[in-house]
């Protein structure tokens, strides 16, 4: 117990001293996950909106598929991206394996279905409310999409944060495609796994504290945004 307390104090001093190795790992983690979520949103939000307002054969099956992909196991995603990027794989020529780009690709695959599915839910429920009014105002189905996305912006930001929460906390995919190379592809989660196995608990704990702080901050942001989007005084829904 005393050892643990000592490790914890060392971890805190690492954080407070602004240890450069620690900061590099944190910055790389944020960079990889934010870029993955950014690109995931670029693809996931239009895809979710199309699933919500589009009417085409196979739409229901696609919705089921996207929902199912929300629960993709990270290690399987890591394995698939590894096979694609490995020297003998179809994208091997790009030589991306064991680079931060490979990690971004893996996390992109993980978060895009989450963002698409949450966007679909948001836009679909808003569309059910708005559809007659927007048609009455002369908007076509296609012209309605930007209105629905803008009016669902708070819920869509929540989808973005949910994707970020998933990306920043996962370890399975990035450790396979990134290789956990020191100063190159080592992120918070992979460092925690490695340093714990080596017995270097202070660095692992310091990163754990930061990771938990980020998770709490993301959840607090989601909660605040959800409260902002919730019905307010005099809400019309009871009419």
């Amino acid at each position: 117990m005393q050892d643990f307390a000592q490790e914890f104090m060392t971890a805190l001093s690492l954080i407070l001293s602004g240890d450069s190795e620690l900061l590099n790992i944190v910055f790389l983690s944020l960079k990889v996950s934010l870029l993955a979520v950014f690109f995931g949103a670029l693809v996931g939000m239009p895809l979710g909106a199309a699933l919500a307002v589009g009417r085409f054969p196979g739409r229901r099956a696609l919705i089921v598929l996207v929902n199912a992909l929300m629960g993709l196991p990270p290690v399987v995603v890591g394995l698939c991206v590894y096979l694609m990027l490995s020297r003998s794989g179809p994208l091997g020529v790009l030589q991306l394996l064991y680079t931060p780009t490979a990690m971004i690709i893996a996390q992109f695959v993980l978060v895009t279905p989450i963002i698409a599915a949450l966007t679909r839910q948001t836009v679909e429920s808003l569309d059910a409310e708005y559809t007659e009014q927007l048609r009455s105002l002369g908007l076509s189905r296609l012209a309605s999409v930007p209105v629905l996305l803008w009016d669902g912006r708070i819920a869509l930001l929540t989808a973005f944060l949910a994707g970020f929460g998933r990306a920043i906390a996962e370890v399975g995919a990035v450790i396979i495609v990134g290789g956990n190379i020191n100063h190159v592809t080592r992120v918070m989660t992979t460092t925690i796994a490695l340093e714990t196995s080596k017995g270097n608990l202070s660095l692992a704990l310091a990163l754990g504290v930061i990771l938990i702080a980020i998770a709490i901050a993301v959840n607090a942001a989601v909660s605040l945004l959800a409260r902002g989007a919730a019905p307010q005084r005099g809400e019309l829904s009871h009419a």
């Binding site: 708005y130 009455s136 002369g138 009016d151 989007a229 809400e235 019309l236 009419a239």
Partner: protein, 246 residues
């Protein structure tokens, strides 16, 4: 006291012929012929399920009838004709934006310049008594204020025809009175009002002519005075006598 313009002013003319809608083998709407023109609001009365809202949605082009034709000013209803119409629903659908932004949304679509939009928004908000709530979130308004905003938004583009689907059904008498004032003013300015209501008292207060829907059909269409004083159809007599089911 009514402040409708005198007969003879230019009002749009809406005609429906042989309008039919059936679902699951049941006829929901079967209007042989209906002509709506002239000054003053047309109030559409009838019990639940009589086809009032369906008729309104058909005339506004939100629902396509299985058969039949709708004409506006002697031309078949098309997108350009629909652009001269507006509709307010029973439950106001307000965009998740400020009160002013809800009005601005419609005005922007009209291609109005920024300054003209600001002036028009101020004018509309003053008319609806919402000038102090311009920056407030539209969804934080009370139900009555929200419905007033929905009507102002519908009037923003100065429609020739305004469809109102039971706009006061969830409101108390004070809020209802404010809505009725807005409707009267719009009518006095030349907008043809077509309004569905359950409230016979409201139909007496506002209606220049009354359409009674009964089992999907137009049971009677007459000037309000005649309709209430000497109802001719059995349906009208039953409805005014308090019958609830067609």
């Amino acid at each position: 006291m009514r402040d409708f313009p005198l007969p003879g002013s230019e009002y749009p003319r809406l005609e429906a012929t042989a309008l039919k809608i059936a679902r699951g083998g049941k006829t929901l709407l079967d209007v042989a012929s209906l002509t709506l023109d002239g000054p003053g609001p047309t109030l559409i009365l009838g019990p639940n399920g009589a086809g009032k809202s369906l008729l309104l949605r058909c005339l506004h082009g939100l629902i396509e009838a299985d058969s039949g034709q709708i004409w506006q000013d002697d031309r078949p209803l098309d997108a350009s004709q629909r652009a001269r119409q507006a509709m307010v629903f029973q439950r106001p659908v307000l965009l998740r934006r400020s009160v002013a932004a809800n009005l601005d949304f419609v005005l922007k679509r009209q291609g109005m310049a920024r300054k003209a939009r600001a002036e028009r928004i101020h004018e509309l908000l003053c008319e609806g008594g919402l000038q102090d709530k311009a920056r407030q979130s539209a969804r934080s308004l009370s139900v009555g204020e929200g419905q007033r905003l929905a009507i102002l938004r519908a009037l923003a583009a100065r429609p020739e025809i305004l469809f109102l689907d039971e706009p006061t059904s969830a409101l108390d008498p004070g809020a209802t009175q404010k809505i009725e004032t807005l409707i009267r003013r719009a009518s006095a300015r030349g907008t043809k009002i077509l309004m569905v209501t359950h409230d016979i008292g409201q139909a007496r207060r506002l209606g220049a002519d009354i359409v009674l829907m009964w089992g999907g059909k137009v049971a009677e269409h007459r000037p309000a005075h005649g309709f209430f004083e000497t109802p001719q159809s059995q349906a009208a007599q039953a409805f005014l006598g308090g019958a609830l089911v067609p």
